[in-house]
C-alpha cells in the first residue's frame, strides 16, 4: 500500500487532504447517522496502512487466489492494425472473476474482517463488482447483499446468476432508472439501517472519504505492476496509458503510480453513449458540472436545477452519472486528458480485439481500446501505448449480439 511519507512534497499523489478533498472535489457528504461509521472506517483504514501484516495478508490472497501479477501483453496484431504505436494490454481480465474489481474487493473484505463486520453490502452496475464481492464473501463466509438496478439485472443475466450461485442475495432496484446510481442509493439506505453489523463495500473510487482514496490504493497494484513490467519489457516508461472510466477505479489504479511521471500521458475514456451531445451519454467530465452525489463533490450529469440526469451507455459498467472525485481534480489540473468513445466505436473495438488478439474484452475496456486505435496511427512505431484491459467480455455477449442484431 502507498505510504504518504515516501512521496516528494510536490507529488500529485499526496491527496486527499484531511477532509477527504482533492482540490474542491471529494469530501464527506453523508447523513449524520453514517458519519460515525465513516470515521470508524477512516481510522481502521489508517491503522492497516501502518500495519505490515495487513499488506502481507493481502499480497498472499492477491497472488494465490486472484492470480496476480496479471500479464502485460504485447498486442502485436492490434499494433499492426493500428499501424503506429506499439500497443500493450494490461490483462486485468485474467484475474479471478474476470476483472480488476477483485483487487479492491479483496482489500476491503480483509479490512471488514478486521473491523469485525459480518454482513457485506455492495452495489453493482455491470455485475463485475457484485460477482467479485459475492466471491470473497463465499471465501470468507460472510453474509452478502448486492444491490443491482433492475435494468442492469436484465442486461447482465449471467452475472446475476453467478452472484446467486455464490450465495449472495441480489436485490433488484427499481427506483430511478434502475441502474448503478440507484443501486448505490439503495445500498446506502441499507447501510444506514444496518449500521451495527454491516460493511459497505464500495466498488469504485466514489462515495464519501475514505472510499475514493482507499479503493484507489487497492487498485494501484495495477499501475505498480505495469510500471515494473514495461520497464522490464522495454526498458522505459510508455508514452500513453489509456483506461475506460465509469466511476474510474481501473483508470485510477493504472494512472496513479504514473502521476509523477510527467512524460507519460494519461487518458481516461468516458462512455459517449450515442454521442456527447445526443443527450444519451455517460460522459460526466465532458458533459457534466461539479455537484454533490453519493457522499462527494465531483463532476455530475445534472440539469439546470441540480437534479441528476440518468446516464446512458451500452456498457453497464460505465453507466454512472458521476466519476471519482480524484478524476475531477486530475481533469481540472490537466494531468489526465478525458475523452469520449461512443457505443458504435466501442463495439468495433470489441470485435477487432476479439478477432485480432483472441481476447474478448469487456465493453467497458473496449472504450479504451477504441481510443487507442484512434490515436495509434498518428504515433511513431517507437511509441508505446498501454491499455488497461480491465475485464473480460464474456458477460457482454448478449448486449453485443443485440447491438449487432444477432439471434443467440
Amino acid at each position: 500500500m502507498r505510504r504518504e511519507s515516501d512521496l516528494p512534497l510536490n507529488s500529485l499523489r499526496q491527496g486527499p487532504d484531511d477532509h477527504g478533498r482533492f482540490g474542491i472535489f471529494g469530501g464527506i457528504f453523508v447523513s449524520e447517522t453514517l458519519i460515525p461509521l465513516i470515521l470508524e472506517l477512516q481510522q481502521a483504514y489508517a491503522d492497516i496502512q501502518k500495519d505490515p501484516t495487513f499488506q502481507k495478508e493481502l499480497d498472499y490472497y492477491l497472488k494465490h487466489y486472484v492470480g496476480r501479477p496479471s500479464p502485460l501483453w504485447l498486442a502485436q496484431r492490434l499494433t499492426d492494425a493500428g499501424q503506429g504505436a506499439k500497443i500493450y494490454l494490461k490483462r486485468e481480465d485474467l484475474n479471478h472473476t474476470g476483472a480488476h474489481k477483485i483487487n479492491n474487493v479483496m482489500g476491503q473484505i480483509l479490512l471488514a474482517r478486521r473491523m469485525g463486520k459480518t454482513r457485506i453490502i455492495a452495489e453493482t452496475g455491470a455485475g463485475q463488482h457484485g460477482v467479485a464481492t459475492a466471491t470473497v464473501c463465499a471465501l470468507f463466509n460472510m453474509e452478502c447483499v448486492i444491490y443491482m438496478g433492475a435494468v442492469d439485472i436484465e442486461r447482465q443475466k449471467p452475472n446475476v446468476f453467478r452472484m446467486k450461485l455464490l450465495g449472495a442475495k441480489v436485490v433488484s432496484v427499481t427506483s430511478g432508472n434502475g441502474t448503478l446510481k440507484d443501486a448505490i442509493n439503495e445500498g446506502m439506505r441499507d447501510w444506514v439501517t444496518n449500521v451495527h453489523n454491516s460493511y459497505y463495500l464500495m466498488g469504485t473510487v466514489a462515495g464519501p472519504h475514505p472510499y475514493p482514496a482507499m479503493v484507489r490504493d487497492f487498485q494501484c497494484v495495477i499501475g505498480n505492476e505495469t510500471k515494473a513490467q514495461i520497464l522490464e519489457a522495454e526498458g522505459r516508461l510508455p508514452n500513453k496509458i489509456i483506461a475506460a472510466i465509469g466511476g474510474g477505479s481501473n483508470a485510477i489504479g493504472i494512472f496513479h503510480p504514473f502521476l509523477d511521471d510527467s512524460n507519460v500521458e494519461l487518458i481516461g475514456v468516458e462512455a459517449g453513449g450515442m454521442g456527447l451531445d445526443s443527450g444519451e451519454t455517460a460522459a460526466s467530465i465532458e458533459r457534466g458540472s461539479p455537484g454533490v452525489l453519493h457522499g462527494n463533490r465531483t463532476y455530475l450529469l445534472q440539469n439546470e436545477d441540480g437534479q441528476i440526469i440518468e446516464p446512458y451507455s451500452i456498457s453497464a459498467g460505465l453507466d454512472y452519472p458521476g466519476v471519482g472525485p480524484e478524476h475531477s481534480w486530475l481533469n481540472d489540473i490537466k494531468r489526465v486528458e478525458y475523452v469520449a468513445i461512443n457505443d458504435n466505436e466501442a463495439i468495433n473495438a470489441f470485435q477487432l480485439c476479439t478477432t485480432k488478439e483472441g481476447i474478448i474484452p469487456a465493453l467497458e475496456s473496449s472504450h479504451a481500446i477504441a481510443h487507442a486505435l484512434k490515436i495509434a496511427p498518428s504515433m511513431s512505431k517507437e511509441d508505446i501505448i498501454i491499455i488497461n484491459l480491465s475485464g473480460r467480455g464474456d458477460k457482454d455477449i448478449d448486449s453485443v449480439a443485440k447491438y449487432l442484431k444477432v439471434e443467440l
Binding site: P36, R297, G306
Partner: protein, 274 residues
Amino acid sequence: MSRIADCFAALKQQKRGAFIPYLEANDPNYQTSLEILNALPEAGADLIEVGMPFSDPMADGPTVQAAAIRALQAGATMQKTLQLVSEFRNDNQHTPIILMGYTNPVEYYGYEKFCQDAEKAGVDGLIIVDMPPEEIENIKPYAIKHQIDIIYLVAPTTSPDRLKLVLKEASGFIYYVSITGITGTSTASNDSLQKAIPMIREASDLPVAIGFGLSTPEHAANAVKIADAAVVGSALLKTLTSTLDEKNQPTKDTVTKVIEHARLLAQGTHSVQK
C-alpha cells in the same frame, strides 16, 4: 428573536410540545401543495418542514422518494419551492418554515443566493441531510448572514463526544433522527428515546425535535413527552398518495384527507401536558 425561537418559547409557556408536519414542495403539484401548506397551521401545525425535491434522496424511504419523483415530474424547481414559501408568507407571518433536502440542488442554486432568496421568501430554518458538520462551512456563513437557522441532525450513532462537536454551533432546534435507517420505515422504541434525549439535553439548551420514525398520534404524543417536538412525514405523505388518481393527479379528497390526518396527529401531540 427568530420565528423558531418565538414559537418554542410560546409553546413552553403553554406547556405543550410542537407538531411539525413534513410535506414535499410541489407534490403532487404546486397548487395542491400550497393549499395543504396554507391549511396546516389551522390544523395544528406549530412549525412546518417543506421538502426540497431531489432526484436521489439517499436518506429517504420509499414514501418520500415517491413524493420527490412526483414533485419533479410536476415540474418542481428550487425557485418554485421558494415561491411556495413566499406565497404562504403572504397570509402567515408566525409559523416557522424549515426547508429540508439534500446538498446538490442547494449547491447548484448557489449557497449565497440560496440563503438570500430563502430569507426573502420567509424561510426560517434549513436541514441539509447530507451536509454534516464536517461540510457545513459550505453554507454556514451565508445562513448566518441571512438569519436562517441551520438545524443539525443527531442520530442514534452519534457518540457523546461527537455530540459536543455537532451541537457547538447548532441553532433553532435539534433534530433527533430516532432510528438508524431511512424515513418512514420503522419506529423508535421508548427506551432508546429515554436514553438519547437526556444526553442531548445535557449538551444543549435548544429545543429537541424527534423525527424519522413517528407515524401515529400516539408516537407523536410519546415523542413530546420526552422531547419538545414531533416530526411526522411519511405517514402524511402516505395519506396524500392514497388520494391521488391513477395518473398521480390530486382529487377533491387530497387536501381534506391530508389536513384531517394532520389534525389527528396535532391532537395527539397536543394532548400531552408538559
